[in-house]
C-alpha cells in the first residue's frame, strides 16, 4: 500500500500544472458548497438563538410577523392575567407588551435607506431576552425619548452610534446605549420605551405580547385556551418557532439556490477529474503493463489510480474549506423578504459542515476517478506492454 501511495503522490507531483488545475476546480466547488452550507447554518443559528424556548409570543391571528400584528390594550391585559405567566425573582410577572414597527434609515457607507426594526419595550423586555447585553451606555429611561441600538445597527446606520441622534416620527431620539445580542436578530434592532413610541407613531395598539411560561409543558394547553377565547383574536407561538417561521422563505431560497449551484458545479468538477484521470491512465499504459508483469494484480492498479484521484480531490477539498473558513469574518446584511426588515447573519462553520465538505470532495474524486481506474485495471498485459 505504501509503495502505491508514494507512486500516486509522485505522479501528481510530476504533472503539477494538471494536478493544480484539477484541484483548483474541486477547491472552488467545495468552496461554494461549504459557503452555502455556512450561510444557511448562520441564518439558522441567528434565528434559533433569537428565540427562547420557554418564551411565548402572542400576535394577532393570521399575522405572519409582529410588524403586521396588532393587539388592543384590553386584549393585552386579558393575557396578562393568565396563570401560566411566570413570576420572576422580583415578584413581578415576566411579561411585556411590545410595539414593533419598521423605520427607514440611511446606511453609513452608502447612504441608501433600509428598513430597521424598532421595538417598543417595557420593564421586562430585557430580562425576557437573556441573550441581550448592554455593552455601552445604559438602557433608556421610561418616559424619555431615549433609545438603545443593537451593535449591527449602531455600526451600519447613520446616527445610530452612541451619543448620536436619530430623527423619526417628528422627534429627535438620543442613542444612550448599545446592546449586543450575539448572533441573534435582536442585534439588528433598535429599542425604546413602548409608550413613547406609541404616542410618537400614533399607534394606539401593541404589536405583540411576550411572556415567560411558568412551566414549559403548559404551552399546548395555554395555546388552545387562548386561541379559542372569544374575547381575543390572537395566536400564540413559542418564541423559537415564531422566529423560525419568519425566515422560512429566506431559508428556502438559500437552500434551493445552494443545491442547484452545488449540483451543477459538482458535475463540472467531476468531469474535470475524469479528464485528468483518463489522461493519467493514457500516459502510463506502458507502466501499467510493467506493473502487471511484475505481479501486481488488477485490483492494485485500480486502487492506485483511484487513490490518485482521491488525493487530488482531498487536496482540493481542504483548500476550498480553508478558503471558505475565512468567510466567517463576514456578516451578510440583507432584507428578510417576509418581514421587509433588515436582518444580519454571518457564515457559520460547524464540524458537520467540515465533514460534509470533505466527504463531498472525496465523493467527487471517487466518481471522477472510478471509470478511468477501471479502464486501467482492465488492460491486457501484452497490449499495454506493446503500447508502452
Amino acid at each position: 500500500m505504501g509503495i502505491f501511495f508514494l507512486y500516486s503522490l509522485r505522479n501528481l507531483f510530476k504533472r503539477r500544472l494538471t494536478t493544480i488545475l484539477t484541484a483548483l476546480g474541486m477547491a472552488l466547488v467545495v468552496f461554494v458548497f461549504a459557503s452555502i452550507l455556512m450561510l444557511s447554518e448562520g441564518l439558522r443559528q441567528t434565528l434559533v438563538d433569537t428565540g427562547t424556548y420557554d418564551n411565548v409570543v402572542i400576535v394577532r391571528k393570521g399575522a405572519v410577523s409582529e410588524v403586521q400584528s396588532g393587539i388592543e390594550r384590553h386584549q393585552a391585559s386579558i393575557i396578562e392575567t393568565q396563570p401560566e405567566v411566570a413570576i420572576g425573582s422580583d415578584g413581578k410577572q415576566q411579561y411585556a407588551k411590545e410595539l414593533v414597527v419598521l423605520i427607514n434609515l440611511p446606511k453609513r457607507d452608502t447612504d441608501k435607506p433600509s428598513n430597521v426594526v424598532i421595538r417598543g419595550i417595557e420593564e421586562h423586555s430585557l430580562p425576557l431576552r437573556p441573550q441581550v447585553k448592554i455593552v455601552e451606555g445604559r438602557m433608556p429611561k421610561p418616559g424619555s425619548s431615549e433609545i438603545v441600538a443593537g451593535v449591527n445597527i449602531a455600526q451600519r446606520f447613520k446616527g445610530a452610534g452612541i451619543g448620536e441622534n436619530l430623527n423619526f416620527a417628528l422627534r429627535s431620539w438620543k442613542v444612550v446605549g448599545i446592546f449586543d445580542a450575539g448572533k441573534t436578530g435582536f442585534s439588528s434592532e433598535i429599542w425604546a420605551d413602548v409608550e413613547q413610541l406609541m404616542s410618537a407613531f400614533r399607534r394606539p395598539v401593541y404589536s405583540s405580547v411576550i411572556f415567560k411560561l411558568r412551566d414549559s409543558s403548559e404551552f399546548q394547553r395555554f395555546k388552545s385556551r387562548i386561541e379559542t377565547d372569544p374575547r381575543l383574536t390572537v395566536e400564540a407561538k413559542r418564541e423559537v418557532r415564531y422566529y423560525a417561521d419568519q425566515s422560512e422563505t429566506m431559508a428556502k431560497f438559500l437552500r434551493i439556490l445552494g443545491m442547484s449551484l452545488t449540483v451543477i458545479f459538482s458535475l463540472g468538477a467531476i468531469i474535470g477529474a475524469m479528464i485528468t484521470m483518463y489522461a493519467a491512465v493514457a500516459n502510463r499504459i506502458g507502466e501499467i503493463g510493467t506493473l502487471r508483469s511484475l505481479g501486481f494484480q488488477r485490483r492494485d492498479i485500480l486502487l492506485a489510480f483511484l487513490l490518485e484521484s482521491l488525493l487530488i480531490s482531498f487536496i482540493g477539498g481542504c483548500t476550498g474549506l480553508f478558503l471558505a473558513s475565512f468567510l466567517q469574518f463576514f456578516t451578510v446584511s440583507t432584507m428578510n423578504f417576509q418581514t421587509f426588515s433588515e436582518l444580519a447573519f454571518s457564515f457559520n462553520l460547524t464540524f458537520e459542515i467540515i465533514y460534509l465538505s470533505i466527504f463531498f470532495s472525496i465523493l467527487m474524486g471517487f466518481l471522477g476517478g472510478v471509470l478511468p481506474a477501471l479502464r486501467a485495471s482492465r488492460m491486457q498485459i501484452v497490449d499495454s506492454l506493446r503500447a508502452g
Partner: protein, 385 residues
C-alpha cells in the same frame, strides 16, 4: 485550409476527453447564463417601472399609511395629471406557498395609470361594476386554474379574516417584463369592511401613485408633494417608481452580490477545466510540434493550431450550453415563480455567454502555447519513435 483540417483533427483526436471538456463547458455556460438571469429577474421590477409615475408613501416606512384625504391635495399640485392609491393587502391563498402580490386599489384610476396591464373592455367593465370583483394576472390564473366568475378566498395577514372575491378579469402584460402574477381588487371593498371591524385603520391608503404630465419634471413634482405635507402628522416620501423599486433591491444587495461572485467562480472553474485539457493535449504532442518545426512550420503556425483547437472546443461547448439554458431556465422559472414572477433570458446574457466562452478559449491556450513555442527541437525529437 490545411490549418483548419489540422485543428479539427487535433480537437477530436482524443474523443473522450474532448467530449468531457465540451460537456463541462456547456454545464458552466448554463450555470453562468442562469445566474445572470436570476440577477436580471431581481431587477425585473425596475425594468418594468415607468419614469412618468411617482410613488408617494409615508416617510417613516412602508408600513405606515397615509390619510385618504391626501388624494385631493396631491391632485391639486401643479404638474400632477392623475392620482391613484392602494394598499398592500398581503393575503394568502390557501397556503403560504402560493405567494403572489395582492393589492387593494382604486380600480379606474389605477388601470388608467398602468397601460401595460392589458384588460379587455368587457373584463374591465365587469370589474368596475362588481364591488367584490378582482383582476388577476395571466400567470397566476394559469397556476391555480382559475376561471372568470370563480370565487377566490384570501386569508388576510394584515387585515384579519377571510376575504371573498369574484374573479371578474384577467390581465396580460404589454411587455415581456410586465409582472403577470399580481392580484387587484377594490379599495372600497377593503375600506368598507375595515370601517366596521377596525375603525381606527379605515380611510387610509398605503401608497399613492401619481401620474405626471412631464417625466422630466418628476423630481420637482416629488419635492412639491413632499413639501405640501412637511411637518404634518404623516410626512410623505415621494420618488419615481423606478427608484422606489430600486430601494427594495438595495436592501437585498448582499444576496445579489453573492450570486455575482458565484458566477465569477463558475467562470474560473471552467477555465481550470479547459486549461487543463489544453495543457494535457500540448504536453502529449510536444514531439509532434518538434516535427512540425523541423519541417519548417513557423512558431506562429503552431500557435494558431493550439489556439484554434482550444477555441473550437469552447465554442462547441458554448453553443450547446446556450441552447440548453432555455429549457433549464423554463424549469427553474416554474419552480420558483413565487420568487421571480418574471424570468426571461435576455439578449445581453447570450452575448455575454458567447464572450465568456471565447475568452476562456483564448486564456486556456496561453500557457500551453508558450510551452510549445519555447520547445527545443532536438530535445523533443528524441521522443519521436
Amino acid at each position: 485550409m490545411l490549418l483548419a483540417k489540422l485543428i479539427f483533427k487535433n480537437a477530436f483526436r482524443s474523443k473522450l476527453r474532448s467530449t468531457l471538456t465540451i460537456l463541462g463547458i456547456s454545464l458552466a455556460i448554463i450555470a453562468f447564463g442562469f445566474l445572470r438571469t436570476v440577477v436580471e429577474a431581481w431587477y425585473a421590477g425596475v425594468e418594468a417601472s415607468s419614469a412618468s409615475r411617482l410613488v408617494t408613501r409615508n416617510s417613516i416606512s412602508l408600513i405606515f399609511p397615509l390619510p385618504i384625504s391626501y388624494k385631493e391635495k396631491i391632485r391639486q399640485i401643479e404638474g400632477v395629471s392623475s392620482v391613484s392609491y392602494g394598499n398592500w393587502f398581503g393575503g394568502i391563498y390557501i397556503d403560504e406557498k402560493n405567494f403572489f402580490a395582492n393589492f387593494a386599489i382604486e380600480p379606474k384610476s389605477y388601470l388608467d395609470l398602468y397601460p401595460e396591464y392589458i384588460v379587455s373592455d368587457e373584463h374591465k367593465r365587469a370589474f368596475l361594476k362588481d364591488r367584490k370583483g378582482a383582476v388577476a394576472g395571466q400567470n397566476i390564473v394559469e397556476r391555480f386554474g382559475w376561471k372568470i366568475g370563480d370565487n377566490i378566498t384570501l386569508r388576510g395577514t394584515i387585515y384579519p379574516g377571510n376575504w371573498e372575491f369574484v374573479l371578474t378579469g384577467i390581465y396580460k402584460g404589454r411587455d415581456k417584463t410586465t409582472d403577470e402574477s399580481q392580484f387587484f381588487f377594490h379599495w372600497d371593498y377593503l375600506n368598507e369592511i375595515v370601517k366596521k371591524t377596525v375603525p381606527n385603520r379605515a380611510d387610509q391608503a398605503g401608497f399613492y401613485l401619481v401620474g405626471v404630465k412631464d417625466p422630466n419634471l418628476a423630481v420637482v413634482i416629488s419635492e412639491r408633494i413632499d413639501r405640501t405635507f412637511k411637518n404634518s402628522l404623516a410626512e410623505t416620501l415621494t420618488e419615481t417608481e423606478r427608484s422606489f423599486q430600486l430601494s427594495f433591491i438595495y436592501m437585498t444587495e448582499a444576496i445579489l452580490m453573492v450570486i455575482q461572485i458565484v458566477s465569477l467562480i463558475v467562470i474560473i472553474i471552467i477555465l481550470a477545466v479547459v486549461a487543463n485539457t489544453m495543457a494535457m493535449s500540448v504536453r502529449e504532442r510536444l514531439a509532434e510540434f518538434a516535427v512540425f518545426k523541423t519541417l519548417g512550420f513557423s512558431g506562429g503556425y503552431i500557435l494558431l493550431m493550439i489556439f484554434g483547437e482550444s477555441l473550437i472546443i469552447t465554442s462547441i461547448g458554448g453553443i450547446i450550453g446556450i441552447i440548453c439554458t432555455f429549457p433549464a431556465a423554463d424549469a427553474f422559472a416554474s419552480a420558483m415563480s413565487n420568487y421571480f414572477p418574471v424570468f426571461i433570458i435576455t439578449k445581453e446574457t447570450i452575448y455575454l455567454n458567447i464572450a465568456v466562452s471565447f475568452l476562456i478559449g483564448i486564456i486556456s491556450a496561453v500557457f500551453p502555447a508558450v510551452r510549445a513555442l519555447r520547445l527545443q527541437i532536438a530535445e523533443n525529437l528524441m521522443k519521436v519513435r
